[in-house]
């Protein structure tokens, strides 16, 4: 029986991390090189962890499926990174960031973790600046900040619209330094396809060398998964095409519990999709909502009209009208859901109706007022690269015409269940960044993903891994010839062979992926209902079955084969999708990114049920996809008392 | 990995820097050369006096010649090294189907042609006016009937040559090639030595274009003027002991 021990320290929240560190075990410097650490994924969390562990003297092997660690999808984060620096003297503090994050997460996160995150945010900025991250600065030479995603303080640091890129390049630079120093060995174009568990502990991974097709085993004393989120379960998302759940899912199948898979974040400001062929959606930083006004035509018949011909009185600034206090800056889920509602009601302004339901799925994001007030040059200075990107993709100049936007899946709060040490339920297996479920509860605040990835990577994991190794000291010796390792390799090889040799191979994996996406987006997307979820749970197993019968993979597993890579990822996403719907169905409340139609207030707001659902749902793989076992980690709130969110 | 220390001249940037520095020396020489040549427009005597004056410099002349020769050799050697390297790098300006050039120009792409071209031109020029007396003595230069050198009259040696159309043509093509080479080379030199500043970057282009145009047109003006009858041979006789071979 798995027991969920959060290993949260007790005592005053502001002292917990310090005391936890004081009470933890350490590994002496000369002993560190005896330990082998595997880091899978080289985004902010993985890159930072690998670099820092290398710096400490551990023997690190880092893996990424991209051709270079610098291309991990953290690179695409645009807006910024939060930190409780209070450089603006506007009343920010560690406590306030903690408070905002718990509240933003709709009271579904662990207080201790969130406090630690807020505490560590300060050091991240120092670290990044020291590495040469060229954050935006004021004329006085000091760091600039902006308010982001509805925060009432300006605590967001940014580097044009490329903050993720710059922070990742900072982590990548640290990683390079360690590679040069010989403490980190980098394995690019290698995809983790299984976890090796020996005597109950994670002891290595099985990878496929994507260039040669060779299946390799890599052994270690500790394995860290920093493999990102599973947003691509929606097929269309703002994630990179390669982003996938395979590493986390394989760990899950080995006994790592998967927490809160139904908590997914839909980002309100993305470029609407233009057709069936669409391969991914592009997000535009929600900082745009600081100056842009969201509206749709009040009369549905104006939907196809030139927006400039629609008089002010016929424009429905629905966010400003419905949420006077926050207006266009309401949280992501509120903004997203409202966009969906107005489009459901026929006010949408997309060029073409959606092939699934005939609705025009887009709303205007209008900068005319801001350009009038601040001048085009100020707007260009603030959002130039975003405007350029919009124009590039749509062919429309947003300085002249309002942008069209629609929500898209952006981030997944759910992930591998981890304790305070970021250790999963498999000893020796840790998860950091978006791959874990830890800090954002049911919804993540803007500019907090970068913060969490880096906090995990630079400051938490390097420390808690030392503690783990200090506790277990000498692990059982294990070598590549052990039956456990050979079995793991063989299992992977067999799985790949099955994909290549599907009995009735005829359909490319994308077709199944798209079908999966349609099911999840319509039934487990911005708004979910028991009925829809039950339908989805009927459809997904059928899809899974059909996939394994009909998927077509050309070529062989021996050698570069992107067709095979995608098939393997889709197979795991289908399984995850099913778990996601099961989770959404059992969570009979609305909270954060999870909105159940049955659970809303009279005026359509999410209705949380703290009495019954103030817990983390951690799912155990039982071998039967349809019947995973639910474990609950009860959440207690000592500092931030749960209140109903109100953005009215 | 070797433990040999990195030396400037073995690096690509070092080689380019050598080309830039040697290029500058040669450009300075060319500027001086032109200013001397233009004395032809002043008077045949001024031209010949200048030629004689150069001979009075003695050891200094040899220092200058050595500097030019060394620069020339360094320039050519570095260019050849880089050319070979670039070939090995799998390069080529047309290695793609229908490749388009976007920023570069003909001058830049033809550096490896204008360079060797200039080499031949310089050899011809040296054979003609520098070592011509040794080659042809007082006989017909290049076999041209009635064209013979007068040791004491460099002016006539030049303009009589330019009256021959094909000699003029060779010179015109040669200095036009020089202009082309400098058009890219001068700007490139600024880039290579890192002389850049956003405020003055525009000026670098202007300077490169201006100077290469000035030099090319300056040199071309002499054969052209000669052909048009503006620089007739002189009947005056000169005696400069310095010019004695």
């Amino acid at each position: 029986m798995i027991e969920l021990k959060s290993r949260e320290p007790a005592g005053p929240i502001e002292k917990r991390w310090t005391e936890h560190k004081a009470n933890s075990k350490l590994v002496a410097p000369h002993n560190r090189r005896r330990y082998q650490v595997i880091v899978v994924g080289t985004g902010l969390a993985g890159g930072a962890a690998a670099a820092t562990l290398g710096e400490l003297g551990y023997n690190v092997k880092a893996f990424c499926f991209q051709d270079s660690p610098r291309r991990a999808h953290s690179i695409a984060a645009q807006g910024g990174i939060n930190a409780a620096k209070n450089y603006q003297n506007d009343g920010d503090s560690v406590y306030r960031l903690f408070y905002d994050t718990v509240k933003g997460g709709d009271f579904r996160a662990r207080e201790s973790n969130v406090y630690r995150l807020a505490e560590l945010s300060i050091g991240i900025i120092d670290q990044a600046v020291a590495q040469g991250v060229p954050f935006a600065r004021e004329y006085g030479g000091l760091l600039a900040n902006r308010s982001f995603g509805g925060a009432q303080v300006s605590r967001t640091f940014y580097a044009r619209g490329q903050t993720g890129q710059q922070l990742l390049l900072g982590a990548y630079a640290s990683l390079n330094r360690q590679i040069e120093a010989g403490t980190v060995t980098m394995f690019p174009r290698q995809e983790m396809l299984d976890l090796i568990v020996y005597e109950g502990k994670a002891r290595g991974i099985v990878t496929r060398n994507l260039v040669t097709g060779r299946i390799e085993s890599h052994l270690a004393d500790v394995v860290i998964l920093a493999t990102g989120g599973y947003g691509n379960v929606f097929y269309l998302s703002t994630n990179a095409k390669g982003s996938n759940v395979t590493a986390a899912w394989r760990a899950h199948r080995h006994g790592a519990l998967f927490a809160n898979p139904c908590y997914t974040q839909i980002h309100p400001t993305c470029i609407p999709r233009s057709g069936e062929y669409q391969s991914k959606l592009t997000l535009m930083s929600e900082s745009l909502r600081n100056d842009g006004r969201v509206w749709v035509p009040r009369n549905a018949e104006d939907a196809t009209k030139d927006p400039s011909s629609i008089p002010e009185s016929d424009r429905y600034y629905y966010l400003e009208e419905r949420y006077p206090a926050f207006g266009n800056l309401v949280p992501r889920d509120v903004a997203s859901r409202n966009a969906m509602y107005v489009c459901n009601d026929g006010h949408g302004v997309a060029d073409a109706p959606d092939s699934a339901d005939g609705k025009r799925r887009a709303v205007y994001l209008d900068f005319a007022d801001a350009i009038g007030r601040l001048g085009e040059s100020t707007i260009r200075e603030r959002y130039g690269n975003l405007f350029e990107m919009y124009e590039r993709i749509t062919g429309v100049n947003p300085y002249q015409k309002p942008m069209k936007i629609y929500p898209a899946t952006h981030y997944t709060m759910g992930g591998l269940w981890v304790d305070y040490n970021l250790q999963t339920t498999i000893p020796g297996l840790f998860a950091g960044g978006e791959a874990n479920f830890s800090d954002h509860g049911a919804n993540r605040l803007g500019a907090s993903a970068l913060m969490q990835g880096l906090a995990d990577g630079y400051f938490v994991l390097p420390f808690t891994i030392g503690n783990y190794l200090g506790e277990v000291r000498n692990l059982e010796p294990l070598d590549e010839d052990d039956a456990v390792v050979r079995d793991a390799v063989r299992t992977v090889e067999e799985r790949l062979t099955r994909l290549v040799d599907a009995p009735d191979a005829k359909t490319p994996p994308e077709v199944f992926h798209r079908e999966l996406g349609n099911i999840i987006w319509s039934k487990c997307g911005m708004s979910r209902s028991g009925e829809g979820l039950r339908e989805a749970l009927e459809e997904i197993p059928k899809l899974r079955e059909r996939f394994h019968r009909e998927v077509r993979v050309m070529g062989s597993p021996g050698g570069m084969n992107q067709n095979l890579e995608r098939a393997g990822r889709v197979a795991d996403l289908i399984e995850l999708g099913e778990l996601m719907c099961i989770d959404a169905l059992t969570r009979e409340e609305s909270c954060g990114g999870h909105f159940r139609e049955e659970h809303q207030t009279g005026d359509g707001e999410a209705k949380r049920n703290d009495e019954e659902f103030s817990y983390v749902s951690a799912w155990e793989y039982t071998g039967d996809m349809a019947a995973p076992a639910l474990h609950k980690e009860d959440l207690t709130f000592e500092y931030v008392k749960p209140t109903m969110r109100s953005y009215k | 990995m070797s433990t040999r220390a990195l030396t400037l001249t073995q690096t690509t940037i070092g080689k380019k820097a050598l080309m830039a520095v040697s290029g500058v020396v040669m450009v300075l020489f060319v500027i001086g050369h032109l200013s001397g040549n233009l004395k032809a427009f002043q008077s045949p005597r001024a031209f010949n006096e200048y030629a004689a004056f150069l001979r009075t410099l003695g050891p200094l002349l040899w220092v200058a010649r050595a500097a030019i020769l060394v620069s020339f050799l360094v320039h050519v050697k570095a260019a050849m090294d880089l050319w070979q390297r670039n070939k090995q790098a799998g390069a080529g300006a047309s290695r793609y189907h229908g490749q388009k050039k976007q920023k570069t120009d003909w001058a830049a792409l033809s550096m490896y042609l204008s360079g060797p071209g200039l080499l031949f031109y310089i050899l011809f020029h040296l054979a003609h006016l520098t070592f011509g007396y040794y080659l042809f003595g007082e006989g017909n230069v290049f076999g041209v009937e009635g064209y013979a050198f007068d040791e004491m009259n460099p002016y006539n040696n030049m303009v009589l040559g330019f009256q021959v159309w094909w000699i003029s043509a060779l010179y015109i093509v040669g200095v036009a090639g020089l202009g082309l080479h400098l058009f890219h080379g001068l700007w490139s030199m600024f880039q290579t030595v890192g002389a850049n500043h956003p405020k003055y970057n525009g000026l670098r282009r202007d300077l490169a274009v201006g100077l290469s145009l000035l030099l090319a047109l300056g040199f071309i003006s002499i054969p052209v003027a000669t052909l048009l009858g503006g620089l007739p041979p002189t009947t005056e006789t000169f005696y400069f002991p310095e010019l004695k071979h």
């Binding site: 930072a48 820092t52 710096e55 051709d67 695409a76 450089y87 050091g123 600046v129 020291a130 040469g132 060229p134 600065r137 000091l142 044009r160 890129q165 640290s174 040069e180 095409k241 390669g242 233009s274 057709g275 062929y277 669409q278 391969s279 991914k280 997000l283 990107m389 590039r392 062919g395 005829k506 994308e510 077509r552 050309m554 050698g559 570069m560 | 990995m1 040999r4 220390a5 990195l6 030396t7 690096t11 940037i13 070092g14 880089l82 670039n86 090995q88 790098a89 799998g90 390069a91 080529g92 793609y96 189907h97 229908g98 490749q99 388009k100 050039k101 976007q102 570069t104 030595v193 890192g194």
Partner: protein, 260 residues
């Protein structure tokens, strides 16, 4: 919405040692709003459906920032639109030019060995950065971020260089297959900032030594890299690198090892 049929000539090559050739495909129903890679996705799906191996190409973020994608389209690295990666090139741009035939090739340079079809190995770029593309700062030892004010223009200028996505279009488009723009952007980003000053001399020497060791060509100031760069990185950075490098080689009191 406009759709057209295009004839694609795609470079197919099984591996680094094989010999490649162009293979011609008909791309039907190409929509103006498709990205160039979506057009290839669509073709690949059709190829798989009819039992052929798909075209291999690198891609990931599809929003122009990861630097994974890159192919030469009718002679232009990343395609004809300036400051645009292949993934952000939309077919309307291709339509505008009236192209009915499109030749698609991988980056070609010795230092970028071909992996398969349109995919090349750009690990040389990583190795250049291993050689010195960092500021040595131990995690946790940083001072307060605002302790050293940095002139806004300097921070902005460093950002201009730091925006490089490492896609390799500079090498692909360079008539000499030189990696100078890439290397100089990295050297420039770190060398411009006060934090990067202590290691400036050693960084530039090691990175340039590695750049040369990788077998890239030399810069002869054509400027094609700048034109192809999807992030608009200026060749001014090359001038700056040259200056910094020569100065370091001439004035540094220590030596660095040659790399090969």
């Amino acid at each position: 919405m406009e759709t057209r049929t295009l004839t694609l000539h795609v470079w197919r090559q099984n591996g680094p040692t094989g010999t490649g050739s162009f293979k011609t495909y008909e791309a039907k129903d190409v929509n103006e709003h498709m990205s160039f890679l979506e057009m290839l996705d669509d073709l690949n799906e059709k190829l798989i459906s009819r039992g052929e191996e798909e075209i291999t190409f690198d891609h990931d973020c599809r929003e122009g920032i990861c630097g994974a994608c890159g192919m030469v389209v009718n002679g232009y690295a990343h395609g004809p639109r300036e400051r645009t990666t292949t993934c952000q090139l939309h077919m309307r741009e291709v339509f505008k030019l009236g192209w009915t035939e499109v030749w698609i090739e991988p980056w070609r340079a010795k230092a970028f060995p071909l992996v398969k079809d349109l995919m090349v190995d750009r690990s040389a770029f990583d190795r250049i950065q291993h050689a010195g593309g960092y500021i040595s700062v131990r995690t946790g030892s940083a001072r307060d971020a605002n302790e050293t004010p940095i002139q806004k223009q300097i921070a902005d200028s460093a950002m201009d260089a730091a925006t490089c996505i490492g896609c390799g279009a500079c090498v692909a488009s360079c008539p000499n297959a030189s990696a100078s723009l890439f290397t100089s952007a990295k050297v420039g980003h770190l060398g411009t900032l006060p934090q990067g000053v202590p290691e400036r001399e050693i960084r530039v020497r090691n990175m340039v030594a590695q750049m040369d060791a990788e077998g890239f060509g030399s810069c002869t100031n054509h400027g094609e890299c700048e034109a192809a760069c999807p992030k608009g990185i200026s060749v001014d950075w090359i001038a700056r690198m040259n200056r910094e490098f020569v100065r370091a080689m001439v004035t540094a009191k220590d030596d660095v090892d040659a790399r090969d």
